[in-house]
């Protein structure tokens, strides 16, 4: 689908534009927060908004492959930016948790991390994101070769950890978490079905002689 791809000379600019646009919701939430625009519990609201954007960018990053496979839309040039945006939001979410929410009281934070499954899952997601962020450059891709692909499959457990972190932190399952569950199940389920789908596609293109 050539019509949808952006000419190469604009591609770099559009990636930088994605970074800028992607960071806007976080900056806007911060702006609202310091101006009393986040309601009665601004710290919680700010923390939650950052978490939601992390989850959304994780989902978008993992939507790149199915979009290409199923609809011929190639957004691979933006995948690194989507992944890094997710990482920045997770980092910001964690920082707000440590500072504004828990007030850097390390004893209570450590207790929380070691005792609460939902916080452990969030921490696991953050820790798994770190090697991915560190290897999100061309040098690492060249250096690691096929192992880079293996390593970046961590994106799947990261998304799952992010979803569970969210679901376990809420009091009841309402429509919003159900939407996220459906999206994540579709994105991860697609990975299970993908090898067969690809075989079938290849088979149609070039029938193998028996």
């Amino acid at each position: 689908m050539a019509a949808l791809s952006i000419p190469p000379r604009f591609r770099a600019h559009s990636v930088w534009a994605l970074y800028a646009i992607g960071l806007l919701p976080g900056l806007y939430a911060f702006y609202l927060g310091i101006n009393g625009g986040l309601g009665a519990d601004p710290v919680r609201e700010f923390e939650h908004r950052l978490g939601f954007w992390a989850l959304r960018f994780l989902c978008l990053g993992l939507a790149v492959t199915p979009l290409r496979d199923l609809f011929g839309v190639n957004l691979i040039a933006y995948r690194r930016a989507l992944g890094l945006l997710a990482f920045y939001y997770v980092l910001a979410h964690f920082t707000v948790y440590l500072t504004l929410d828990r007030g850097l009281i390390l004893s209570s934070i450590l207790g929380d991390i070691l005792k609460r499954p939902y916080i452990m899952l969030g921490m696991a997601g953050l820790l798994m994101l770190i090697p991915l962020a560190l290897t999100s450059n061309r040098w690492s891709i060249r250096k690691l070769g096929p192992r880079w692909n293996q390593l970046h499959k961590l994106a799947y457990p990261i998304l799952l950890a992010g979803l569970l972190h969210y679901i376990l932190s809420i009091k009841s399952i309402t429509l919003e978490p159900v939407i996220y569950i459906v999206i994540v199940v579709a994105l991860l389920g697609y990975r299970l079905a993908r090898p067969r789908l690809m075989d079938w596609k290849r088979g149609r293109r070039a029938p193998v002689a028996r």
Binding site: D41, L100, D101, G103, D112, K115, L168, K171, S172, L175
Partner: protein, 315 residues
């Protein structure tokens, strides 16, 4: 400065004459207010009450926060939903059916309650099970005053409460996805219900209850988590068995019947040791968490109700 001062009521404070005399004036305004609200308006009407010695020293949470940050799933699960989507709710006229193990079962209308039971202002802390808290100047009366009118039988051990079901006026009660089973039901042991701190609230901040806070009549039990405070009550039943309660039915391992505020007993998924006081943060900064107190700071008053009970087991 103590966080909570147990009431020491001086004789001079017992119904001052001017207040007693102004009751007639209050009745007039209340009746006018009810008539006004009856016209379909969601506006709160002024509601007079005598001051009470039951008040905490903490700074009250702003009226804005008290009336826009609510858990009232009948109007939606978002904190702002109740204020946003309760406009069609009609709290007048209103009757409460009181029955079960009582000598005088009856259906009482709100007008009678407001006319015949003296209202007091009680400034209470409110601690939500989600680890946030507020300080709210309620107007209301001891639940025991209502129980006395129906004369519970000696066999009655518990009090069950029920919220109204009106899917047409409460958008959270209709539609595809509903988080709870309706009606919302709650309960107390009879001695808890009779405790002087336990009130039925009819107003806050000097006015009748806004719809989003549980108009026209709701339960307030300040030493328990907020979800015990069943709103828009239409039915009160005295019984000899522990009544089912909504959140306990939904997740029994997470929400018990007692639901006493207890920093030592965590919610299975999060800590109850600290809380964030709503409205204390200046923007995003300075909203340090407070340590949660046993029985929400009312231990001197209520701990004896649970003497000998394992509070980890009866959470």
């Amino acid at each position: 400065m103590p966080l909570y001062r147990p009431p020491r009521i001086a004789s001079s404070e017992i119904t001052p004459q001017n207040l007693y005399l102004s009751r007639r004036h209050f009745l007039g305004t209340a009746a006018a207010g009810l008539a006004f609200a009856g016209a379909g308006s969601a506006l709160a009407a002024p509601l007079k009450a005598s001051p009470s010695a039951y008040k905490v020293e903490d700074k009250p949470t702003s009226k804005q926060d008290v009336t826009t940050y609510n858990n009232f799933y009948e109007f939606g699960t978002g904190k702002a939903d109740p204020a946003r989507y309760s406009g069609d709710f009609k709290p007048t006229p209103w009757t409460v059916e009181i029955g079960g193990m009582v000598a005088k079962p009856q259906t009482i209308d709100m007008e009678t309650i407001l006319k015949e039971i003296p209202m007091e202002e009680r400034i209470y802390r409110m601690r939500c099970v989600e680890a946030w808290s507020m300080v709210i100047p309620w107007i209301g009366f001891p639940l025991s005053a209502l129980l006395d009118r129906v004369e519970p039988l000696g066999s009655a051990k518990y009090v069950a409460f029920e919220t109204v079901v009106r899917p047409k006026e409460m958008p959270g009660q209709s539609g595809f996805f509903q988080p709870l089973e309706w009606p919302y039901v709650e309960g107390l042991r009879l001695d808890e219900a009779r405790h002087p701190l336990t009130i039925l609230a009819t107003g806050l901040y000097g006015e009748t209850l806004p719809n989003q806070n549980g108009a026209p009549l709701r339960l307030v039990v300040p030493w328990k988590y907020g979800f015990k405070g069943v709103k828009s009550i239409v039915k009160i039943t005295l019984t000899d068995k522990e009544p089912p309660t909504t959140w306990n039915k939904m997740a029994p391992q997470e929400y018990g019947f007692y639901a006493n505020v207890n920093p030592a007993v965590d919610h299975p998924r999060w800590s109850q040791a600290t809380e964030r006081r709503i409205g204390e943060a200046n923007g995003l900064f300075g909203g340090a968490r407070l340590n949660t107190l046993p029985f929400n700071g009312y231990a001197d008053e209520v701990a004896n109700l649970y003497a000998g009970m394992d509070l980890k087991k009866f959470y």
